[in-house]
Symmetry: C2
């Protein structure tokens, strides 16, 4: 799909000349408006962890409120050391001098794409912002499909072909992004795929950017994440953040692990130069709390464990509802996303006038208050009847409910979560029923 | 000066392919290293306010530590309303819907330059990051000298000529940046200059970006800042932040006030689209504290008043030391900067082998531990023997000293500040003495 093909995520925000408000954030704002109007909603568009920040982490931030200096562009020495320890404990020995912190891993990814330059190969589907950021740098993204049943890593053979073709056309492709585990699919690529991707990257001299923000949210205990930094350490940048496993998205704190060696150090210097001109440093009080978090004290480790179990239980339950309605849906393996495909019920959707992912997401949002994002937001063709469904905002509307969900042996039995699942089942049954349940229940105006 | 001409601020950081680590941040890091080595330093390179954050503001941040959601890209409604009130009280009635918050006004300025596109006219001299950001967007900066004795606003007649010439050469110049009051000169442009700039901007259809981050630090009580938003409201973006008058640079919180009307709303939509892909939102807990700050409770107003008096007293005393050493130096009118010109003692510097601003800053840093930034970091020619001297890190090395400085009736009489001023006087006397004080006291190796 060419980058210029329109993909309107359901939202009333005006779109930008260069890029619309990030599709996820825009859909979130649309749902907030509906909620304020008193319309019941199933908020499943937005990739927010849906849990309160752990009290110990809040306390660290509160204690650091006096930190007002800019400090080093790369982040405080204590934060860099803590992040290095975090990676070292995951089999990636890390020099703190190669860690760069920033106001979110999103900002770090943008900085990396800007300094690397050239086009970037990204998986199809992949997180909305990779391609949007590539467009902002003026270069653009080269979408490469993932292997069937996997997610987050472009099929290495297709990648090799696509990069060679692009280069023959005179286009510069310099990097490839992978997401391990993946958003939007909630899947974790196989070790063999990652190994092969590293070989191809080496053959083609591509830098690998491995977004591992969901790394600590793999559902199956003990299942390993195979980072490309294991197999191609000289060319892999790894990023992560506090946003997902520690539910601190609004704090804006990410870290990048740059490769060792001459080119890694040059890349770090470039990234710091750019960082100093765009954001100066990550917020200082939050750096202090992040240093504590990346130190992984037992109370946070236990908290992340419980969060992971909750994410797994609810994602599995949501996937089951889509499967029951006739969708094709892979078992969620990590994070809090489900990625159903409505292709098997395409005929019934067509009866309702729905022929695109955007139309489907629009119908769900406008008619049923069910927020999701269409596959096209993730680089899929407009005709793909796939949705990214984020399951983590179903945990409750108050911190009391969310903490109860975190504590529950079987969270899907909690009344408010069960009600949401029932509502989802009912909506999906209606949308995929052999005949439209109501006359005029097609796509609402303006979608 | 063409953008490609090297201006090496004294620093051992590796330079970047696209841009070095921001000159101010790099010099700061170099001084920190010297300090850690036990070398006495006069840290006057870095534009940090040098004061602790007010306890009430710290308390607000601590109380907001539980805020972990992303929230709207533009910032929370309470923050936008507070910022609108702040501007309204300054004669700029503001619709909260036209306020956009971000992680520092630096990030907002970058986002604006990116979405506006084209070259940007900037004053010569001007803050290091405007031109660096313009380079990152791929367009570049057009330096236009300020009127003699003023700072922060390109001479409007020269601007008109430069833009017309550039356009005849096929270059697109779409915007102009002004800094009111100014960094690096510490001067406040005259009302007539601002009015004329607005006329020229209208004639040439230039957007005006008015960086008013030092607005609340004008030394003379009651002296008005004449924002271009008063005279060209349809085309002026105003930015400010918590970094300077509230000394919270490391918190990373800025706000922009977009123009009303169709093009202002389109610019806002573009800015939000870009913001959502680069930084998502300003840090949520800090947004809460910023809402409190922009509400201007009496304890903060009183604190800013005291800060302003301290900045004025020390900047004046530092300027006097440079004047006594034979430099040409305009009276500081705002902020905590002094901008001396060593041209009258150029011959004596040449005797020491110093013929450039970089050489001068390097001599002061490497031989005397006196950190400043050369004029070329602000767009001046390499031969300009001008320095930006930031005076705010002389207030003390501990919060106790800094608070004593804030409370003192005559802060320059405090022993640690007096000692710094004496040391500066002695260094300047030595550097500008008729004969080099020591054989071999010229430019040290590597500078």
């Amino acid at each position: 799909m060419p980058m210029s093909e329109r993909c309107d995520a359901p939202s009333s925000e005006p779109s930008s000349r260069r890029t619309g408000v990030s599709a996820t954030l825009a859909a979130n704002e649309a749902l907030e408006r509906k909620r304020r109007e008193g319309i019941p909603v199933l908020p499943m568009a937005f990739g927010e962890a849906g849990l309160p920040v752990h009290p110990a982490l809040r306390r660290e931030l509160a204690d650091a409120a006096g930190r007002n200096g800019y400090g080093p562009v790369a982040g405080s020495p204590e934060l860099r050391a803590a992040a290095a320890g975090y990676w070292t404990r995951r089999g990636l020995p890390t020099d703190p001098g190669l860690v760069v912190a920033g106001p979110g891993s999103k900002a770090l990814l943008f900085g990396l794409l800007l300094v690397i330059g050239g086009e970037v190969a990204v998986p199809r589907p992949s997180w909305v912002s990779y391609a949007a950021q590539a467009a902002l740098t003026g270069a653009g993204a080269l979408f490469v499909p993932t292997r069937p049943g996997e997610g987050g890593v472009p099929d290495p053979e297709l990648l090799a072909g696509a990069v060679r073709t692009a280069r023959q056309e005179g286009r510069e492709v310099r990097s490839v992004v992978v997401t391990l585990p993946d958003n939007p699919t909630g899947r974790l690529a196989e070790e063999a795929t990652v190994r092969r991707l590293c070989e191809v990257a080496r053959e083609l001299d591509l830098l690998i950017i491995s977004d591992e923000i969901y790394r600590d949210l793999v559902h199956e205990p003990g299942r390993e994440v195979h980072s490309p930094a294991l197999f191609a350490p000289e060319r892999t940048v790894v990023t992560t953040a506090l946003s997902k496993h520690l539910a601190a998205g609004g704090w804006r704190l990410g870290v990048a692990r740059l490769p060792e060696g001459t080119s890694g150090r040059a890349l770090r210097a470039d990234l710091l130069g750019t960082a100093s001109e765009i954001w100066s440093c990550a917020p200082a009080p939050i750096q202090r709390a992040a240093a504590y978090a990346f130190g992984e004290p037992p109370e946070l480790v236990e908290h992340v464990d419980r969060s992971r179990r909750l994410h797994a239980a609810v994602a599995r339950a949501v996937a089951a509802r889509f499967a029951a309605a006739g969708c094709r849906v892979a078992e969620p393996q990590a994070s809090f996303y489900v990625y159903p495909d409505f292709a098997p019920v395409a005929g019934r959707l067509a009866d309702r006038g729905v022929r695109t992912g955007t139309g489907l997401a629009g119908l769900l949002l406008e008619r049923y208050g069910v927020g999701t994002l269409p596959g096209c937001a993730f680089g899929e063709p407009a005709s793909a009847l796939r949705l990214r469904v984020a399951t983590s905002l179903l945990y409750g509307e108050s911190d009391e409910q969310r903490l109860a969900a975190l504590d529950a042996a079987d969270p899907v039995e909690l009344p408010w979560i069960a009600r949401s699942l029932d509502r989802l089942e009912q909506v999906l049954a209606e949308v995929t029923a052999p005949e439209p349940a109501l006359a005029g229940a097609g796509v609402p105006a303006g979608v």
